[in-house]
C-alpha cells in the first residue's frame, strides 16, 4: 500500500518534471524564434505595419487584431510569402491595398516572423514551428495549382 503511494508519487513527479522541462524548452524556443523574427520584422514589415504593429490609417492594417490572426492562422504564412490584395476586415475596418509578396523569405524565416507577430502587439498565439509553416505553404501552393 505504502509502496503504491510512493510509486504514484514518483510517477507523477517525473511526469511533472518532463512536462515542465518540455514547457520550459518550448518557451525558450518561442522566445528564440521571436527574437529572430523581430529582426526580420524591422527589416521587412515595420515600414508599413509600424513599430507597435499599429498599421497606418486605412492604408496598412494593424497586426493587433488577435481574432483576425487566430481565425486566419493557416493562411498567414501564404499571406506573408505571396502578398495579399482585395478587401479584408481587420479591427472592424475594411482594408483594400496591395501588400507586396516576399518571395525571398525562407519557411524558417516566416516561422520566426509569425512567432514574433503572434506573441507581440497583444497577441498570444504560441510558436509557429517550421513544420506548421511548411504545411501551410504546401497547402496554398496546392490551391494555386
Amino acid at each position: 500500500m505504502r509502496n503504491h503511494y510512493l510509486y504514484t508519487c514518483a510517477a507523477l513527479l517525473s511526469l511533472y518534471l518532463v512536462f515542465h522541462s518540455c514547457q520550459h524548452e518550448q518557451a525558450i524556443r518561442t522566445a528564440q524564434y521571436a527574437v529572430n523574427g523581430q529582426k526580420l520584422y524591422v527589416a521587412n514589415c515595420q515600414n508599413c505595419h509600424g513599430t507597435k504593429g499599429e498599421g497606418l490609417g486605412g492604408l496598412y492594417p494593424p497586426l493587433t487584431d488577435s481574432l483576425f490572426l487566430n481565425t486566419h492562422r493557416e493562411q498567414l504564412a501564404c499571406m506573408v510569402k505571396n502578398g495579399l490584395s482585395g478587401p479584408i476586415e481587420v479591427n472592424g475596418q475594411v482594408f483594400d491595398t496591395e501588400m507586396p509578396a516576399n518571395p525571398a523569405l525562407a519557411p524558417i524565416e516566416i516561422a520566426y516572423l509569425l512567432t514574433y507577430i503572434g506573441n507581440s502587439f497583444g497577441n498570444t498565439m504560441g510558436i509557429f514551428s517550421l513544420e506548421e509553416i511548411q504545411a501551410a505553404l504546401a497547402a496554398c501552393e496546392a490551391d494555386n495549382r
Partner: protein, 212 residues
C-alpha cells in the same frame, strides 16, 4: 552622386549657420550667387539665393495647382509614390504626424509629389490621401509629367530616378524640405529618421516665428 547635392546643401547650411550667432534663425540652403547691380551710381552686391522655380501640377482633385497655392505660408515638400514598398510608408507616417499637429493652421502646408507618373493618377492619389487620413486641402498630392517632376526634384535637392532594380521601380531619397514664403529651402530632413523629424518640428516653429 545621390548625396552630393544634399551634402553640399548641408555644408552651405553649416557655413550660413556659422555666420549667424543666434540659433533662432534657419539658414537658406542651396546654391547662391552674388549679383552686382548699379543703383544710383553705386555698385551694390546682392546675393541671389536658390529658390523653387514656378510649377504647375495636377492635384488629387484633378485641379491644376501652382506655386501660388503655397503663398502666405510655409510648406513641407517630399517625393514618394503610392505603391512604394520601402521608405515611403515611413515618410508618410512621419509627415502625417506633422500634418495632424498643424491641421487647420493655414500657415503650414504639405506637398507630396508622386514620382510614379505612370500609375499615380489624381484618382489614385485621392484614394491614397483618404486612406492615409488626409481630410482637407492643406496637404496636396500631385502628379505631372516625368520631366516636370524630375526637374522639380532637382530644385528641391532630392534624388529621384526610375530604376527597375529598386523596390517598386523607383529609387529616391526620403527627404522632407522645409520651404519658406519666398520659396527658399530652409531645412532638409531625413523623413525616415525620428530625431530628424523632431528637428523638423523645432525648425518649423522657428521659421513660423519669422512671420509673426
Amino acid at each position: 552622386m545621390r548625396i552630393a547635392p544634399l551634402v553640399g546643401a548641408c555644408l552651405l547650411g553649416l557655413m550660413a549657420g556659422c555666420k549667424q550667432k543666434s540659433h533662432n534663425s534657419l539658414p537658406i540652403l542651396g546654391h547662391r550667387e552674388p549679383v552686382t547691380k548699379v543703383i544710383d551710381g553705386n555698385t551694390v552686391t546682392d546675393t541671389l539665393y536658390h529658390s523653387i522655380p514656378d510649377f504647375q501640377l495636377l492635384n488629387q482633385d484633378s485641379v491644376l495647382i501652382d506655386n501660388h497655392t503655397f503663398d502666405n505660408g510655409v510648406y513641407i515638400a517630399n517625393f514618394f509614390f503610392t505603391h512604394c514598398p520601402s521608405i515611403c510608408p515611413i515618410m508618410q507616417r512621419n509627415l502625417l504626424k506633422v500634418y495632424e499637429k498643424y491641421k487647420g493652421d493655414e500657415r503650414v502646408r504639405f506637398l507630396s509629389h508622386s514620382i510614379d507618373f505612370r500609375h499615380d493618377s489624381p484618382a489614385v492619389l485621392k484614394t491614397y490621401a483618404e486612406k492615409l487620413g488626409v481630410t482637407n486641402d492643406q496637404w496636396q498630392f500631385v502628379t505631372g509629367s516625368k520631366a516636370d517632376i524630375y526637374n522639380l526634384s532637382d530644385s528641391y535637392m532630392v534624388y529621384t530616378k526610375e530604376d527597375s532594380s529598386a523596390p517598386g521601380g523607383y529609387d529616391h531619397s526620403g527627404h522632407f524640405l522645409l520651404v519658406d514664403q519666398d520659396k527658399h529651402i530652409r531645412g532638409a530632413y531625413d523623413g525616415t529618421d525620428d530625431t530628424q523629424i523632431q528637428l523638423l518640428f523645432d525648425d518649423l516653429e522657428i521659421l513660423l516665428k519669422e512671420y509673426e
